[in-house]
Structure formats: structure tokens, C-alpha cells
């Protein structure tokens, strides 16, 4: 519900460009994000809302322009196009009607960073304690976890592999710096 003309401009928390090395570490564009909470039974009943799938296994993510990531039995992180934030909120509100749910916009709370290419898992494992091998953390897997001293949401998006790291805004410089530092191990590595 922005006024027709924004008189001030948006400034993202991470004014960095993609790294040149392998893996590539690239801050992602602004996005519309929502925390959606509802009872699991309603999620099964609805199946999806406003194009966001809800009947996902816990710790998995959908793909497409409107993506949902099921972080727990009753928690979904929704990621869509930045320009659609208002529309998404309205569509979701309409779809649920009076049915109990909680929708909170967190577009500005999070920052996304992509980690892509050979050794991406090794770089993440510099601070993430999870088993990132494809058997344990396949494409489509997603979870909240830790990267060093920061909490992150980690999503494996494809088999490049590309991982999407989501963290809170003020942790973004730390998370970004941590990934760049870890990636130094692979400077000049044969890929």
C-alpha cells in the first residue's frame, strides 16, 4: 500500500556484488517475504494459498515465483516478487477468510544470499553443522539452522548446487563476510 510515488528510496542491508570465485556468493534481490502460521490440519485442507503450496513436508521448499518453505509443523516462509508484497497479502487474507492463521510481513527483516557452484556445501559447512551431502540435504530441502554465530534459513534450490541463505537483516554483513572468508579456501581451486 505504498503511496503512488515513494518519496524516499529503499536501501538494502547488503550493498555488495556477487563474488567472482567458486563458489559464487551473490546477494539476492529484494523480495516479498511473509511468515505464515496456521494449524497443520488447515494446511492439509487448503493445500495451497495464493499460489504458495502448503502441503509440503516439514523442511522442504517449493519452487517457482511464489515459493513456500515449510520450516516447522505450523510455520511457512513465503517468498515472492518484491513488487507483489501487497497483492500477496491481500490474496492470502482473502483465501483464509475467517479461518485462523497469522500472516506477518517480513520482507525487510530478511536478506537473501545465493551460494552457487562447486564447493558450495564445503563453504557452508565452515559454519553450518548439518550434513549437506545430496543424500541428506537434497534439492528442495530447506531448514532453519546456524551459520557460525548467526541463525539462517538454508534452502537447496538446484543441483548446481545453488543454496539460498536467508538471514536477518543485521546479521547479513556477518553471514556474507563469513561465506567470503570460507570461500577463500577454494581460491584458485580446480573445479
Amino acid at each position: 500500500m505504498l503511496e503512488t510515488v515513494n518519496r524516499v528510496t529503499r536501501a538494502t542491508a547488503l550493498a555488495a556484488t556477487a563474488s567472482a570465485g567458486t563458489p559464487e556468493i551473490a546477494p539476492l534481490p529484494d523480495a516479498a517475504r511473509f511468515a505464515l502460521r496456521l494449524r497443520p490440519a488447515l494446511a492439509s485442507e487448503m493445500g495451497a494459498v495464493a499460489g504458495f503450496p502448503l502441503d509440503l513436508a516439514i523442511n522442504s521448499a517449493s519452487s517457482g515465483p511464489r515459493r513456500s518453505i515449510r520450516l516447522g509443523p505450523d510455520e511457512w516462509l513465503l517468498i515472492g516478487d518484491a513488487a507483489e508484497a501487497e497483492a500477496i497479502a491481500a490474496e492470502i487474507a482473502q483465501a483464509f477468510g475467517e479461518r485462523f492463521h497469522a500472516l506477518v510481513e517480513i520482507s525487510h527483516r530478511n536478506v537473501g544470499i545465493a551460494v552457487r557452484g562447486a564447493h558450495a556445501a564445503d563453504v557452508l559447512n565452515a559454519g553450518c553443522p548439518l550434513d549437506l551431502a545430496a543424500a541428506a540435504f537434497p534439492t528442495g530441502f530447506a531448514t532453519r539452522t546456524l551459520l557460525g554465530k548467526a541463525e539462517i534459513v538454508l534452502i537447496r534450490e538446484d543441483d548446481a548446487p545453488t543454496y539460498r541463505v536467508e538471514c536477518w537483516r543485521s546479521f547479513a554483513p556477518y553471514v556474507h563476510g563469513f561465506l567470503l572468508e570460507a570461500a577463500r579456501d577454494f581460491d584458485g581451486a580446480q573445479t
Binding site: 500500500m1 505504498l2 503511496e3 510515488v5 515513494n6 518519496r7 524516499v8 528510496t9 529503499r10 536501501a11 538494502t12 542491508a13 529484494d30 511468515a35 502460521r37 505450523d74 485462523f100 497469522a102 500472516l103 506477518v104 510481513e105 517480513i106 520482507s107 525487510h108 527483516r109 530478511n110 564445503d122 559447512n125 565452515a126 559454519g127 553450518c128 553443522p129 548439518l130 550434513d131 551431502a133 541428506a136 557460525g148 554465530k149 548467526a150 536477518w168 537483516r169 543485521s170 546479521f171 554483513p173 556477518y174 553471514v175 563476510g177 563469513f178 572468508e181 570460507a182 577463500r184 579456501d185 577454494f186 581460491d187 584458485g188
Partner: protein, 995 residues
């Protein structure tokens, strides 16, 4: 040039790659593949350091990570000086600069060596006895002297210039140790595609097989078998080989820490590579194939340079192609030293062997050695070593079956190889909480009951025969991978077995000789005798009293000798004395490895608000609040804190100030039961709060003490915007989630953290409304339309805002919440309008002063986890009609209702210019006898520009009843007189916020 003790052929060093290192200023040549120890030995250098306590000359005892003596300082350039490197582990590389330690002024001439003569002073427990009197000597003499003498090596004084890395990893099977058992285990474990890690502390994998020139495995020479096994493992994609990686800690649920050394051995290490990497491995199953340690023999002056372990002599000869001496006497009580003697003889070294065992107890190894023409004296004991800076010979004598010592004779020697038997390396097994069992046949503790998913194999498990080691390793590897494969290996039989002897029999007065048990901590047999005589019978006590086994080598070479000696003196069986507990790390680990990347900007996340950059540009000083960096004050010109804060305070009271309140915690509480949930969490009532209104809320822990506070806005019937303190944000959300999930799961409400969704800009002061009015759309700012403690949604500078009319300063004020990415732009737009209004940015210090003038508390400053609402004078906020809320029942606990509790009051010093120390103690009467009863303490204290004097808040026993009375407050030098007042100093009626 390569050193006069370099053997003409053989060894695993690369003779095509010469290297040279510097030791104490001398440049010495060697080959790639040398350790610093083997390179020094090639140049016939054994005397490489002085011992810890007695400053005795010391050389190499071993060839590996169990080395207690040969600790060198390694200098790889600025910021890369590292003390206490074991010369037997450090790999020689071109240009490496090393120094010996623990001497002054030089290795050869050392003042501290007087300790060796004064040694009666340095008996066991000497520091408990010697430094007890006179009392005044402790501070002036003893402690400084002890501190100067303490520690080995010199701590580096520059920041560490190296990079260190961290890696979490998972595998199905982790094999620790790449000797014969470990290689066989890795081969078997990786056959079915399971993820296998094989880690070994050495540069080259193969363990004992790397120096075994005589054994054959399945018809191949041992070293050829190793090469084939490693080639096979490398070809398997499911195997990760980790050489130079020490498994140093075995923690819960198969979590194992390894230190990998990546660059110290490289001539030109690539700048991007970390020096070391900490691996945190979570393994499905673990195979411990960590081998065994050889024991020294205990006899007088057994620590002279040139006296090595027998197997170490063999390693230097076979693996590194250096002769530790030209005339070597082996002393042993078992079979394995014969193999060393045979190999030394084969390398052209003059060999004599002294066996403590009677001839009849010796095995076929005896005939084999004699057949090579070597002299073997069976049934002999060693009385003492000769020589000081280098062993020159051994005094030996025949030992009758009854223990009678015959006529002594001296065997000339420039090197001694001693073997007192073997001790399985059960350190990691013990760290994993596995239970040990004493095996009398092996005279050693061996793994018994494993507590974790883990098995031991090979020498670590008490197997010493090569064929058995390989078969056991293979079976362990297969079982660890979930299989049950077994394989018989055809291997050359290994001579094994020894007859334990704790201290070699001697005719000398035992009180006059130094026969070392623990080389690194300079503990002798005499010290152990003394400790037992003084009543220390538990091995844990003996260990602490004598310090045996407590050095950085953790007693790898000394533990069994110490245990055996204690048992012998007490005439108890050895297992009755017990064994000591092994703890991580197995070998010393650098701090860099433990810290990894967590240094400099990555030490901790530095959380910055969207306005941080602006504040930096304005020259703000910042303070840490948790992980947040908050603008503390904004000095102009050369203002100090005091001057800047006085100006900022005045601006807010008279005009308007702008403050970054982004760090306040925010939680969105949504659902039809939101108000009911709030009712149960906070002391206040929430059901009647209308949408569009705010309320100051207070929440307790279940014990009745204040947990947190903050302003809460009701945005809609089913939606609250809760704020918390900056530091309390995660704690409060966790507290709420706990109750919601575990006590009241039936409530239809969900909680979401929005702390970072919003930037919060506080605009405070009489001109606040005028300042922001033209920027705001969609909200009527008029006083009656938008009163104090109201909230509205609308726009500011075109972006959506949740606009709060609230005040923590006591002035008319607004807190503007905007989506975080717009925070700086909105801030700058407001600031751009500010010139005409005297707008002044202010920081946390001014915020603290302004709120203290009004008597507003800060949770964590006025409270400490033992303060109730009533203690703060906030009892009136409690909605007592509510049937229940968290902490309500506890408010009726007797202690919380008792009279005399500390209550929040104001304190005004008689001297208005004196600003009290926060934390200063408050007493009723400065002249009462000591100990003076403290009534309480100062919680907040400032210079108040509005009052033009100092003010303070304090918690004082029965404080409200003391208002108007005099008390005394401690100052750094004395007491000062002050008066107790109500805790509000400015606009006590609170009228200004309604302007």
C-alpha cells in the same frame, strides 16, 4: 653436507629435494621428508633443549607426537612465531627457522641449570612446601619468580598472521590412525560405498609399516602393501584421506574434533590456504586404530641426550635414513627392541643389546640378533647413564635371579635405545567414556566396554602381531560399515612380549639419583616414592602432587611407569591403583585452530541498524548493547561525553531530538486469542485495550521477578505489536513460545519476531509534532485525534508506517516504525527539515539521562532478576483481578511480601556536583562497626542538565519509608552524605508528554 649421520641409502626422504633449516642460528641441510628431529640427528645434534624444572640438557626421546623433550620455537616470519613445536612432528622445509627453549642466556650455558644442583628443593610438591613462608615473601618474591619460570617457550607477542578454518563434516565411518589396522579398516569399510574418513596425524600414511623393512604382507614388502592400499583408497570416491590430521577430541554421540595442518610443511604456502583447519566430524561409527606407545626404562640419568626409545632409533634409521649414533646400546625387557637392533646393525651401526630378562625368558629374537654378531647381555640391569650433554655410555651389571647386582662395567655408547614395553594408545577411547580393562599379559589397560558406536583395532586394542592387527582392523572396518566381512592376512610374525619392570634394579642410593618417569615435567622415581610415603595413594592424587602425566604430552610415555611404580610401592595389583582419566586434546592444539574464522569482524556478528551509516558519518561514538552497535552520543567538535550529552539533553527538553530506537525487540502477536495470551503473559490487563491504543507492559518470570518490559500497541482486535528491551528480545520471544506451546497450546495465537522488519525513529521534544507533520500522510496528528499512548498506521515520506505516540524521555514524542530498508531515507528526510526546529540527534547516553530524570526504569539496570513490580513502585500496574498470569502466584511467596525489601528510590547527594558511581553501596550510618550493613546500591547515576545537578536511582531496603532521610553512599575513597527522594526528578506529574 647432508650431515655426517645421514645414511648413504634408504629411508623415505626425497634425496632429490634438498632443504635447509636454521637451528639456533646454524643452517643445516636435509631432505624433503625429514622432520626437524631427523634433520638435526643427521647432523649429530641431540642436545636441543633444557628440561622444565631442572633445566637438564635434553634430546629426542621419541620420533612422534608423544615426544616430551624436543620442543622448539618455530619462526615462520612476522606474526608466525610458534613455541613448543615437537621437533619430531614438525616437518623440515626450506628456510624454516627454529630455536631451542627454556634456557638463558644460551642452550649450552644456562643459569637455570643450577636448579639441577639445588634439586633437593624441587622435590615432589615443592611448590606446596617451599613457598609457604614467610608470608610476605609470596607477593614480593615467590609469585614473580614462579611466574617468570613458569611455562615452556615464549608466547608470541604479535597477532597471529595466519588464517585458520573450520569445517563440519559427516561420514559413516571414521577411522583414526592409518597404520596397518587403520588401512585395513578403511579398505573394508569403504567396500560397500559408505562414506569413510581416514585420518592420521602424520604427513605420510602407513604408521609403523613406513619403517618396517623386514615384514611382508600377502607376499609383498610392507611398504609396497601400504602404497597399494593407499592407491586403492584414493581411487574410491567415497573415501576421504586426511593426513596431518590429529583426532584430538572425542565427544558425545561420535562427534570428533580433528586438527588438520595444511601449510606449515610447504615451502611457499599459497596465501589463501588456512594454516590449520578444525574438522568437526559427526561419524556414524568410529574405528580407533591409534597404535601404541613405547615405554622408557627407568634408571639413573635416563634423560641424557642420545637416549631414545628403541623403536624410535629404528624409525630414524629406517624411515629417515639417519643414524642416531654410531655406537648404539639397546636396553630392553622385551622382544621388540631386537627388531630395532637388527635393523640398526643392518644399517652398519655398532650394536650392543642389554636385556633385563634372564636368558631363558628370551625368545627366538635373541638367537637371531646373536647370529648377526651383535653382543647381547641377558640378565643385566642398567645402573646409570654417563655423559651430560650427550650420553657417552651405560653402566651395566649382571642381575642374579635373586636380584643381587654383580660387578658393574661400562659400555661405551653415543646413543641408547631403550624399551620398557608397550602401552596401547587408549586416549581417544577413554575420552569417549569407554571403560578400560587391565590385561596382565600385556601389562596394560586395553579398551573394554565401548559407550559410543565405536570399536578399537590393532595395537590400540592390545594386538601387536602384524597379521592379527590387519585381520582385526579389517573386521572392525567391515563391522563399522554394517558388514561382517573378515579377511586373513599372511604377514611376517612380529616378535612381541615383554617382562614389566618399573625401575631397573640398582645398587645406588635411590635418594641420590634422578631416574626420570615423566620427562616433560621432570618427575623422577624418587618423587613418586616421596609422594606415596607422604600418604598419597590414589593415582589421581599422586599425579597432582608430583605433576606426573600432567604435562602437554599427557603422560603418553610416563603413565604406565608411574602407575606401576605406585602399585609396586603400595604392594597392590596395578588395576587396584586405577588409571587416570584422559581428556582432550590428545596433543596440543593451537588457539588459532580452535578459534577458526571467529576473529576480527567475524568474531561476533556486529549488528547495525539501517541508520548506523548515517550516525557514523556524523561522527557518533557507539556502544555495544548485546551484539548491537548503538549510537552512544554525537560529539560536536572536541566535545567529550559529558558536554555532548548535556547539549543533547537540553535540545530534547527545549526543542526536539532524533534517536535510533531500531534495536528494540518487536514481536507481532496475531490470532483471536491474542488478548487472552497477553493477559496471561503480562501483569497488566489487555482485554479492554482498544485497537489504536498502547500500554506499557510488564512481564514476570514464574518466580515473580521482572523479566522484561516495553510498550505494546494493539493494532487490531487480533493483532498486537509488542516491543521489548534491546537485550531481552530473544529471551522474551522464547519465554512466550514456551508458555504458548507447552502450557496453552489451545490458544489460537501465533508469534513472529519483527525486530528487524522495522527501523524505529524516535522523535522526541516539544517540537516533535511540528517537525514530522508535513511528512506524514493518512494520520491526523492533532493532540485529541492522536493522544499520548496511541498508535496509528499511515505513511511518512510515502512509505507505510506504524506511528506510535510514546515517550521514554518525558517529552512529547513519536516512534516512527518504517520498513527497515526505508529507515535511513526517512531519517534523513526528517533530519533535513530539522534545522529550523533545532533538531539534534542523540544517543543512548542522553536517552538514559532523560528517562532517569523522569524516573523510568531500565530492565537490567534497575533490575537484576530479583526485583518485583512492587520493588520498583510499579505494583499498581498489576491487574490483580486476573485469575492468573505468569508469576502471579509467586508474588504471594513470603519472601516477596516480606517487609524490608529493596525498593526503588531517588538519591540526591548533598554535594550537587558529585555524580555517584553506579554500583556504589548505600549505608545508614558510616560510623557503625565493620562489617557495615549495606542497605542497597546505586543503579543509575548521571549529571542531569534539566535539574542542573547530579541525580541517582537506587534500590534501598525499605526505601519508600526512607524518603526524606539521610543515608551515606560509598565513593572510591570514602562515603558521601545524600538524601533519599522519590524516584523522579523532573516533571514528576508527567504532563509534558501530553503537549
Amino acid at each position: 653436507m647432508a650431515g655426517r649421520n645421514r645414511l648413504p641409502k634408504g629411508g623415505r626422504v626425497d634425496r632429490s629435494k634438498p632443504v635447509s633449516i636454521v637451528f639456533n642460528g646454524r643452517t643445516l641441510a636435509g631432505f624433503a621428508g625429514d622432520t626437524v628431529a631427523s634433520l638435526l640427528i643427521a647432523h649429530d645434534i641431540h642436545f636441543v633443549g633444557r628440561s622444565f624444572k631442572y633445566h637438564r640438557p635434553r634430546g629426542f626421546l621419541s620420533h612422534g607426537s608423544d615426544e616430551p623433550n624436543a620442543l622448539l620455537s618455530v619462526d615462520r616470519g612476522p606474526g608466525k612465531i610458534d613455541p613448543n613445536n615437537r621437533a619430531t612432528v614438525a616437518e623440515a622445509r626450506d628456510g624454516l627457522v627454529t630455536h631451542s627453549q627454556n634456557h638463558w642466556p644460551s642452550l649450552e650455558f644456562d643459569i637455570g641449570a643450577i636448579n639441577d644442583v639445588l634439586s633437593p628443593v624441587f622435590v615432589a610438591g615443592f611448590y606446596y612446601k617451599t613457598f609457604m613462608w614467610p608470608r610476605r615473601f609470596w607477593d614480593s618474591v615467590y609469585e614473580p619468580k614462579i611466574r617468570a619460570a613458569a611455562g615452556l617457550g615464549r608466547a608470541p607477542d604479535a597477532p597471529d598472521a595466519d588464517r585458520y578454518a573450520n569445517r563440519h563434516a559427516h561420514c559413516d565411518v571414521l577411522v583414526v590412525g592409518a597404520g596397518p589396522a587403520g588401512l585395513a579398516a578403511a579398505l573394508a569399510g569403504s567396500e560397500t560405498g559408505k562414506r569413510v574418513f581416514l585420518a592420521d596425524e602424520q604427513a605420510e600414511m602407513g604408521g609403523t609399516l613406513l619403517h618396517d623393512l623386514t615384514s611382508a604382507i600377502d607376499g609383498k614388502p610392507a611398504q609396497a602393501w601400504v602404497a597399494e592400499a593407499l592407491a586403492e583408497l584414493r581411487s574410491r570416491g567415497n573415501v576421504t584421506l586426511l593426513p596431518r590430521s590429529t583426532a584430538f577430541g572425542y565427544y558425545n554421540h561420535n562427534h570428533i574434533a580433528l586438527a588438520e595442518r595444511l601449510t606449515d610443511h610447504l615451502d611457499n604456502a599459497p596465501a589463501h590456504l588456512p594454516r590449520e583447519r578444525l574438522w568437526q566430524v559427526r561419524a556414524g561409527e568410529v574405528v580407533l586404530a591409534t597404535g601404541a606407545h613405547e615405554r622408557p626404562l627407568v634408571f639413573a640419568d635416563n634423560d641424557r641426550p642420545g637416549i631414545l626409545l628403541a623403536e624410535s632409533v629404528r624409525v630414524f634409521v629406517n624411515r629417515y635414513a639417519v643414524a642416531p649414533g654410531r655406537k648404539v646400546v639397546f636396553v630392553t625387557n622385551g622382544a621388540s627392541a631386537y627388531a630395532a637392533a637388527l635393523d640398526a646393525a643392518a644399517a652398519g651401526i655398532d650394536v650392543t643389546l642389554v636385556d633385563v630378562r634372564p636368558e631363558g625368558d628370551c625368545g627366538p629374537e635373541l638367537a637371531a640378533l646373536r647370529a648377526k654378531g651383535a653382543t647381547v647381555l641377558t640378565g643385566h640391569t642398567v645402573l646409570a647413564a654417563a655423559g651430560t650433554r650427550r650420553v657417552t655410555g651405560l653402566a651395566v651389571a649382571p642381575l642374579s635371579p635373586a636380584g643381587k647386582i654383580g660387578t658393574r662395567k661400562t659400555l661405551a655408547a653415543d646413543c641408547v635405545g631403550m624399551s620398557g614395553g608397550w602401552t596401547p594408545s587408549v586416549h581417544l577411547f577413554s575420552q569417549s567414556r569407554g571403560k578400560l580393562r587391565f590385561d596382565p599379559a600385556l601389562d596394560a589397560f586395553v579398551p573394554d566396554q565401548a559407550v559410543q558406536a565405536q570399536r578399537s583395532a590393532g595395537a590400540a586394542n592390545g594386538r601387536y602381531d602384524l597379521g592379527e592387527i590387519l585381520s582385526e582392523g579389517f573386521a572392525a572396518g567391515s563391522a563399522a560399515a554394517g558388514g561382517d566381512a573378515s579377511r586373513a592376512f599372511t604377514a611376517t610374525p612380529t616378535p612381541t612380549g615383554f617382562s614389566p619392570v618399573r625401575v631397573l634394579p640398582t645398587d645406588a642410593d635411590p635418594a641420590r639419583v634422578k631416574a626420570f618417569i615423566d620427562f616433560q615435567n621432570d618427575v623422577t622415581a624418587k618423587d613418586i616414592h616421596l609422594a606415596v610415603r607422604e600418604g598419597f595413594e590414589s593415582v589421581e592424587h599422586v599425579k597432582r602432587y608430583t605433576t606426573t602425566g600432567m604435562a602437554t604430552d599427557q603422560g603418553k610415555s610416563s603413565n604406565m611407569n608411574a602407575l606401576g611404580l605406585v602399585a609396586g610401592i603400595l604392594e597392590k595389583p596395578l588395576p587396584a591403583v586405577g588409571t587416570t582419566t584422559f581428556r582432550p586434546p590428545y596433543t596440543p592444539v593451537t588457539f588459532g585452530t580452535l578459534i577458526g574464522p571467529s576473529r576480527g569482524p567475524l568474531f561476533d556478528p556486529a549488528r547495525k541498524t539501517p541508520v548506523h551509516g548515517w550516525a557514523e558519518e556524523q561522527g557518533a561514538r557507539f556502544e555495544d548493547v548485546g551484539l548491537w552497535k548503538r549510537a552512544w552520543y554525537f560529539p560536536r567538535g572536541d566535545e567529550d561525553l559529558h558536554e555532548a550529552v548535556a547539549r543533547e539533553c537540553a535540545a530534547v527538553r527545549q526543542h526536539v531530538g532524533i534517536f535510533d530506537a531500531t534495536t528494540l525487540g518487536k514481536i507481532e502477536i496475531v490470532g483471536p486469542d491474542a488478548a487472552e495470551f497477553m493477559n496471561r503473559i503480562y501483569v497488566n490487563g489487555w482485554l479492554k485495550l482498544e485497537p489504536g491504543r498502547c500500554r506499557y507492559g510488564l512481564m514476570l518470570k514464574e518466580d515473580g521477578y521482572i523479566l522484561d518490559d516495553g510498550v505494546v500497541a494493539r493494532l487490531a482486535v487480533d493483532r498486537f505489536h509488542v516491543t521489548t528491551t534491546t537485550g531481552g528480545a530473544p529471551r522474551v520471544l522464547a519465554h512466550m513460545e514456551d508458555y504458548l506451546q507447552t502450557e496453552w497450546p489451545e490458544l489460537n495465537v501465533f508469534l513472529t519476531s519483527t525486530t528487524e522488519q522495522f527501523a524505529v525513529i524516535a522523535v522526541q521534544g516539544p517540537k516533535a509534532r511540528e517537525l514530522i507533520a508535513p511528512l506524514v500522510t493518512g494520520i491526523d496528528l492533532a493532540n485529541d485525534a492522536f493522544p499520548h499512548m496511541a498508535v496509528r498506521t499511515g505513511f511518512i515520506c510515502g512509505v507505510p508506517t506504524r506511528l506510535f505516540r510514546v515517550s521514554f524521555t518525558g517529552e512529547l514524542g513519536f516512534e516512527i516504525n518504517v520498513p527497515a530498508d526505508y529507515g535511513r531515507a526517512v531519517w534523513e528526510a526528517i533530519f533535513a527539515r530539522g534545522g529550523a526546529f533545532g533538531l539534534t540527534p542523540y544517543g543512548t547516553e542522553t536517552m538514559h539521562v532523560l528517562r532517569a530524570e523522569r524516573g523510568f526504569v531500565i530492565i537490567g539496570q534497575e533490575t537484576d532478576g530479583t526485583v518485583t513490580p512492587d520493588d520498583l513502585g510499579l505494583g499498581g500496574m498489576i491487574a490483580r483481578a486476573k485469575p492468573d498470569f505468569v508469576g502471579k502466584r509467586s508474588l504471594a511467596r513470603p519472601d516477596l511480601e516480606a517487609p524490608g525489601r529493596k525498593q526503588l528510590v531517588g538519591i540526591l547527594t548533598d554535594d550537587p556536583t558529585l555524580v555517584l558511581d553506579e554500583g556504589a553501596q548505600i549505608v545508614a550510618d558510616r560510623d557503625q562497626p565493620i562489617p557495615i550493613h549495606a542497605l542497597g546500591h546505586v543503579t543509575s547515576s548521571y549529571w542531569s542538565p534539566a535539574c542542573d545537578r547530579s541525580i541517582a536511582l537506587a534500590l534501598v531496603e525499605g526505601g519508600r519509608e526512607r524518603i526524606g532521610s539521610e543515608i551515606f553512599v560509598t565513593t572510591p575513597s570514602s562515603f558521601t552524605k545524600a538524601t533519599v527522594t522519590a524516584p523522579a526528578f523532573f516533571d514528576a506529574a508527567g504532563e509534558r508528554v501530553h503537549a
